[in-house]
Chain length 141, copies 2
């Protein structure tokens, strides 16, 4: 069983400003850093990092819920290293730092949820597998 | 030579609403579809599709510029197929439809630029390589 997803990217303005739109009608501003662009939005690589952080965050929240743990706060700091000297100028390395707060949260459950997201459940994580090194850590508040 | 990129995802609200923030301070609303979420933003997989479309669009614009072609309009329609019956529920297939308008644009130049983006220059495309089938077509307006 499959579902279809549809988004648009367009409305070119300025030098490289674009607008992304999803199924809800919400939009996201996209641009490139100067001097090529005008810095009026996310870069594409930032959006990829946001995609990975939110996908893994949602997956962790869902898995913790299955373990009877209700997440009350979730913040993810994402750091990526982009190489510039060889094309394609990919992110070679992404570090995810999860900060979580919730009822009865314990390290063993959080580690289990993050590991299950990484290995089995988070689709964005799976879609960059073997192409980018991804590491993670967490704190419980 | 490398550069560091930093984004945050957090501010959990409702059931699964999150906010992504990039280096410019612009934000993007993220959510999950009902019944798990409230549909008040992009899903993570939509953001991945937006990231690929904008990265490849910017790369194509840049490469056409190097060929002396100035892009005036760029619109990308992205369709993705997500499998639901096996975890991780990845996008197995993404189709990109580029609609372009510009001075002296010709099919040979556009095909060359898209092929160079796909094979060599677009970092997001490279970061999902071998994990997702990506196809493309274009129209010149």
């Amino acid at each position: 069983m499959n579902i279809e997803l549809n988004v648009t990217v367009g409305d070119l303005k300025g030098r490289m400003q674009l607008t992304g739109k999803g199924h809800t009608g919400h939009t996201v501003p996209i641009d490139y850093t100067p001097p090529l662009g005008d810095d009026r939005g996310f870069t594409s690589l930032e959006l990829l990092m946001v995609s990975l952080a939110s996908c893994s965050g949602h997956t962790i929240q869902f898995l913790l819920g299955k373990m009877g743990k209700k997440l009350e706060k979730l913040d993810v700091q994402v750091n990526g290293t982009r190489r510039l000297d060889v094309h394609p100028t990919v992110l070679t390395d992404i570090r995810l730092q999860y900060a979580l707060k919730g009822e009865n949260l314990d390290g063993a459950s959080v580690e289990k949820a993050i590991t299950m997201a990484e290995k089995t459940y988070c689709p964005v994580w799976a879609m960059i597998r073997n192409n980018v090194s991804v590491s993670w850590e967490y704190t419980i508040r």
